[in-house]
Structures are given as C-alpha cells and as structure tokens.
C-alpha cells in the first residue's frame, strides 16, 4: 500500500514541503487523543507493528509505542543489541524473518546510516526510520517542526539555529531538511570539528560563535553532546565546551529578546545547555515530547493508508482505509 507519503518514512530529505505539511496537519487532530481519559482509538486495529531497536532508546521507543497503542495497533518490541555483525545475524536475515511473520510495519532504529533504507528496500512492510546512524531521525525532525509551528504559527521565514554536534547528529540533518523545505532559514553553530566540512552545501549558515547565533535566531535547537566526543579528540573538554558554546541564561539575556529553546534530549545539563535555560520560561522541551506522540500517530496513520482528510473522523472511531 502506498499513501501520500509512499511506502516508508526514511527521512525528511526525500519529502516535499507539501508532504511535511500534510504530516504536521494530520498530527493536529491526534494531539487531542492523548488528552482524553481513555487514550485509545481503533484506527489501526488489527495492524501488527514491530519496534526494532538495535540501539538503546527510551524516549523514542516509548513515544512510538504509545502512538501505536493509542491507535490500537498490536505491537512487539524487539531490542537487538549491537550491530547485526556482533549479533551474528545479518540485517537482511532479520528483515526476512520479520517479513515471514506477515507484519504490517517496522519502526527501526539502528546505529548504521542507511539501515532503514536497507530494510525498506528488502521488505514489503512499511518502514519508519526511528534514527539511523548519523543520517536522519525524521519523526524527531517532524516533532521539532510541529513544536516550532505551534509556537510561532508558521515556519516560513523563521530563523532556527541548530547548536552543537551537527557532525554526528541525525536530528540535525532531519531538522535541516525539514526546516528548509518549509521555508525556514537554518543556521548551525558549534566547534568546526563537530560540523561537517561540506555543511555549506546543505543550504545553512554557519556561526562560529554562539553569541552570533543567539543574536540571529528566533529559536535554538540545542543538540546533545555525546560524551565520547571528548575522548575521540573532537573537543578538549566538556567544561570548555560549556564555556565556549553552552547555551546559558546570561548569553540569552544579552540578546535582548526571547528565543525559543528546543532540545531533542536526553540533556547534559551544564554542558550544552544550562539548567535554568532548560527549565526556563522559553523552553519547549517537554512540548516536543508531547508532540512526538501526535506526530508519530500521524505518520503511522498516513503510512497505513489513512486518508489525511479523514484524520479528524478517524480519531472518533472509524478505522483508516486500510
């Protein structure tokens, strides 16, 4: 089956602005389901979904699972540790085995860039990329877009700076594609050792100083700094990182205006972001988490063949046109 998004959601790069807008619009009616006392609609009743996580994840896995369960899908969680190589079974064999169980969808997280596409090309089920290596994390990008749109009312013309370890961030790539396709202006800021050399070619501005980024942006999306970047020699110390690139209240106050603060989590408080910013009045970090469930419900609904114009009705009780 192939709906308005095609068979799979592998990244935001292959999507058009219209497709992204469709997902965000479809997420709107689904938000309300999570506010009900009985958080369940029968939309995906009878659908079988495997959450295949080759990397540890709490937030994303739980968010997907809630999205699936609130749509009444049958879900199975598979936590496969390590890469397929160390596990002994190849990814293609894993895929074939799942396919043989006649599943409808796979939500996959994997440490290798391209793993979701690899799977999608080899099975007929819908594949949703829940993060592949340092490539993309499209549902995170979508929930960031939804959160920004909720707050600013639009994305077109918005100035968003992605701060930190862009080089190793799938969240950054999905945000860059999603935001630029929706007409936002995107910048990145971080030590050059943590920015891809060819980042200019992706249509973004680069700021070497966090003060410049804060002076320019309407919103900051602050990336998690993986602690192992220090031992791998990309930065000298977390302490210095915080002093040079950390998003602090002092730095934000100097801008003289309010910036919206996003963070995909989990946070390293006191490293890339100070606690009084993360917990401050302009932080929408928990709104992002709430929106994550709605966006994932929208993606599941659309990929399963649900018609966008029926999303409002679907949540009331009718099944998707599956």
């Amino acid at each position: 089956m192939s709906g308005p998004l095609g068979k799979d959601l592998l990244g935001l790069e292959p999507l058009s602005g219209d497709q992204i807008r469709l997902i965000l619009d479809t997420a709107e009616p689904f938000k309300e389901i999570s506010e009900r006392a009985i958080k369940k609609v029968p939309t995906l009743r009878g659908a079988t979904i495997v959450n295949l996580f080759f990397e540890a994840s709490t937030r994303t896995r739980v968010s997907f699972e809630f999205a699936e369960k609130r749509l009444s899908a049958d879900t199975v969680n598979v936590a496969a540790s390590g890469s397929s190589v160390s596990k002994g079974e190849t990814l293609v064999d894993t895929a074939r085995n799942l396919e043989a169980m006649r599943i409808d969808m796979v939500v996959v997280r994997h440490g290798a860039s391209g793993a979701a596409q690899f799977l999608a090309e080899r099975i007929e089920s819908n594949v949703i990329n829940a993060g592949d290596g340092t490539h993309e994390h499209p549902t995170q990008g979508l929930l960031d877009l939804l959160t920004l749109r909720d707050h600013f009312g639009k994305l077109d013309g918005l100035k968003v700076c992605i701060c930190g370890d862009v080089l190793h961030s799938r969240v950054a790539r999905s945000n860059i594609w999603g935001l630029t396709k929706m007409g936002a202006r995107v910048a990145v800021c971080g030590p050059r050792s943590l920015l891809p050399n060819a980042i200019d070619g992706m249509g973004v501005t680069v700021f070497d100083h966090i003060e410049e980024a804060i002076g320019w942006a309407d919103a900051l999306n602050v990336l998690r700094l993986q602690l192992e970047r220090m031992t791998a020699g990309y930065i000298p110390s977390l302490r210095e990182y915080n002093r040079v690139f950390g998003v602090s209240r002092e730095r934000l106050e100097r801008a003289g205006r309010d910036l919206l603060i996003l963070h995909p989590g989990p946070m390293n408080r006191g490293v890339e972001i100070d606690s009084d910013v993360a917990d401050g009045p302009f932080s929408v970090i928990l709104d992002q988490v709430t929106n994550g469930v709605a966006v994932r419900m929208a993606v599941l609904y659309l990929l399963s063949g649900g018609r966008p114009e029926l999303a409002e009705a679907a949540k009331g009780g009718g099944g998707a046109a599956r």
């Binding site: 397929s84 190849t90 860039s113 391209g114 596409q117 050399n197 980042i199 070619g201």
Partner: protein
C-alpha cells in the same frame, strides 16, 4: 611443423613501435612472427582469426588486482581470476599480497606462480608484501620473493604507515629493480571512513575520507623516492590534488609512477547515494572535479597506467549496512568497456593511448614481458571491438565476484580474442 595463427585484417595498434595500421599479425610457436600486409603469404595452413573491424593490440596488463587465493577461495581463486582476466582482455595480471596467509615470503610467492600455471589462462605475477604479515614492521624478504617470481612489493589494502619503513623499502628495492607500490592513505585521517568526505557524506551521515588522506601519503612517497632514488608506484590515485603532486614529482624527474582505476575516471561519490555498497571502495569515489583531473592526467601521461584494483567479495558481505560492507568491486571484465565508454568515446583518449596505458606502460614500469607486438615477443595479444555495445550482467562474469556498480549499464568496447603465448585463452561467446 610449428603452430601458426594469423590475426587477419585488424587495425593493429602497437604504441611500442608507433604502429597504427590495418595489417595481419602472424604468430608462430607462441611468438609474434611478423606484422604487415602480406604476412599471410608465408603462412599456409595457419589458423585464421578474422579481425576485420577489430583492434589488435599487445595484451592488456593489470598491475593491480586481488585474486583472494590463498585464504578466500570462496570469493575468487587464481584460476577464476585468471579466467576473468582473460575475458577482460588481460594477458597478465599482478596479484596483490593481501591474501591469508599474506604473500610475504618465497614459498607463498611460489604457490601463486604454480597455481597460475595450473590455471592456464592469463599470466599471474605475484606482488610480495613490503612488510612481514603486512604489519608495517620489518621488511619482508624482497630478494627471495623476486627470486620466486614476485615483480613488485606492496602492502596494498593497508598503507605503509611508517615513513621510515617506506624509505627503507624504496632503498632496499633498488637492488632488485622492482617498484614499491603504495596504497596511499594516512590512517589517522581515513580511520572509520566509508566514502569520500564531502557533501554526499554529510547528507548520508557516513564518515568521510578526505582527499588529503591520500595526498599526504602521495607527497610523502614522492619525497622519499626523491631522497632514495627508489621507484615508488602510487596505486589507485583518486584526487585532483594527487594528480598535481605526481606532476610535481615527474617535473623533477623523481622516480614515481601512478595508476588510476576505471571506476575513478567514470563514477563519482553520487553513486553512493542510496547506500549502494557496490559503490564502496577504498580510495572512495570522489567528485566530478577529481574525475576530470584524473581523465586529463591519463591523457597527458601524468598517470602512467590504468589498473583495475579488481576486488571480488561474496555477495553476503556486500549485502549489509554500508559502513560495515567491505571495500572494493570487481573490475577485470569491465575495465576495457569502462575505459572505452568514459575515455575513448568522449574523445579524451585515442585508441593508441588507451593501449599505451593498458599494455605498453604497465609492461614498461613493472618490467614485465609483453606490451609489444614486435617480432620475437611472446604472442600476448588482445583483440577487441571498440564500438560494440553490451549490457553488464554480473551473473555472466567468469570471476566469482558479482559486486559491480556497472550492473545493468550498457557499455561500449568488447573483447573478442585474448591470446597468451599464441594460444587463444578467451574467445567471445
């Protein structure tokens, strides 16, 4: 009565004697007997191979391939590799020593020589390791390996990381008159890299290998060749910067030669899009600008030879996540067609220059027999149609490897006959 073969009416292209004319080639007793218009008259009863409309050239020589035996006979053997070579028009290939065990001693070299004799296809010349076990520590026994049949030394697959080791290898190799072939890769820069570092690697989220990883080692090797007077041969050059550095070295008469692979003059990093593991090799596919520089360098001779870096892998090994897939593609059976399609047809190389880069120059720089159709030379001959189109179907390869980025493409240039010592070892089906 000696066995006579007449290659009749082809366009004989032999840059070693500045020959490019329609002529017959007469072969007697495995050697070239005569080349000319009327040689047939003196050869009644000769077996005749009709070469009208075809190019008759000295046999192609590949100075860089991986035949996987010993160690990975499931992937390729010397016999299947030598047959794949013959099908690709190669009358001789040089086998890299990254086998298991490593070809780093005279017994291992002798094994390859014997297996090649049994295969009875293209000639196979072993290349010995630079260092024992290719570990980058102490020198392997160049003298004994040369005595057993090695024609060069290389730690290919791995760079010679130590500048001191490279220096002593270049010095020590002088006694034996052999080139030291280096896989130029600065290991700390290239570590973990899966493709060219650039916009495509940034988009795909794959760790890149910057051009400088190759160029730093290329200039190191050139400078050490200057210091030592040894002959350094730079394997599979892939960047514009490397071309500039080689040019710099040659202008100063430094003893440096270089090769380029067909894939590096035909494909760019864009082929990796979609995580196609058949576009994964090391050095990686680079940018259009690099491709342009490499084509120019093949044309003007800055790059001496075209070599395949034929690297068969089991399909299971390529059927996996991009970062985990092994490097390399098969190349023996597509090399001519890729070169014709991307160099000759667009007018970058004429046919004589192509033959120079695929036959004459490899023989010259690796001091190998062949590379000429002069009377008296071994009758190693390649006959090909430079205009014939064919579709690449890996399932039909003689190689055990199927890992080709050209699968399904229509290419131009097809081998008709390959002869070694006057015996037809391949005939187009």
């Amino acid at each position: 009565m000696s066995k006579l073969i007449l290659l009749r009416g082809g366009r004989v292209v032999d840059p070693s004697q500045r020959l490019d004319a329609v002529a017959d080639v007469l072969i007697a007793d495995g050697k070239i007997a005569a080349v000319g218009a009327r040689v047939a008259e003196g050869a009644p009863g000769a077996e005749i191979l009709d070469c009208a409309g075809l190019v008759v050239a000295p046999g192609f020589i590949d100075v860089h391939c991986h035949l996987r035996e010993p160690g990975r006979e499931d992937v390729e053997t010397i016999a299947t590799g030598a047959r794949a070579a013959a099908a690709g028009g190669f009358t001789a290939v040089c086998a890299m020593p990254n086998t298991d065990p490593v070809t780093d001693n005279q017994a291992a070299v002798g094994f390859i020589v014997r297996q090649a004799q049994r295969a009875d296809a293209a000639r196979v010349y072993p290349i010995g390791a630079v260092s024992v076990g290719q570990k980058g520590g102490s020198l392997a026994e160049f003298g004994e390996m040369v005595g057993a049949g090695a024609v060069a030394v290389s730690d290919d697959g791995k760079p010679v990381a130590s500048a001191h080791l490279m220096r002593t290898a270049l010095e020590y190799a002088r006694t034996f008159g052999i080139p030291v072939a280096d896989h130029c890769e600065e290991p700390t820069l290239a570590q973990g890299g899966a493709m060219n570092e650039g916009l495509m690697s940034a988009k795909l989220g794959l760790k890149g290998i910057p051009s400088e990883a190759e160029e730093i080692m290329a200039i190191r090797d050139i400078l050490l060749a200057r210091r030592t007077g040894g002959h350094v041969h730079l394997c599979h050059m892939s960047t514009r910067g490397s071309v500039d550095l080689i040019r710099w070295g040659k202008e100063r008469n430094i003893n440096v030669t270089a090769e380029v692979c067909p894939h590096h003059i035909s494909l760019t990093e864009d082929a990796v899009d979609g995580y196609d593991t058949n576009a994964k090799m090391n050095p990686p596919l680079r940018t259009a600008d690099d491709v342009e520089a490499l084509r120019d360098a093949v044309k003007d001779g800055t790059i001496d030879v075209i070599a395949t870096d034929h690297a068969p892998h089991h399909y299971d090994e390529k059927e996996r996540e991009f970062a985990d897939a092994p490097n390399g593609i098969v190349g023996l059976e597509t090399a001519l067609a890729v070169n014709v399609t991307w160099l000759v047809r667009p007018g970058i190389l004429d046919v004589p220059t192509l033959v120079e880069r695929m036959s004459v120059a490899p023989a010259r720089i690796f001091h190998l027999p062949g590379g000429t159709l002069r009377p008296g030379a071994p009758a190693d001959v390649t006959v090909f149609d430079p205009a014939a189109e064919w579709v690449v179907e890996p399932a039909r390869f003689r190689s055990k490897g199927r890992n080709s980025p050209y699968a399904g493409m229509t290419l131009t240039g097809r081998v008709h006959f390959t002869l070694v010592d006057g015996r037809v070892i391949h005939r187009a089906g």
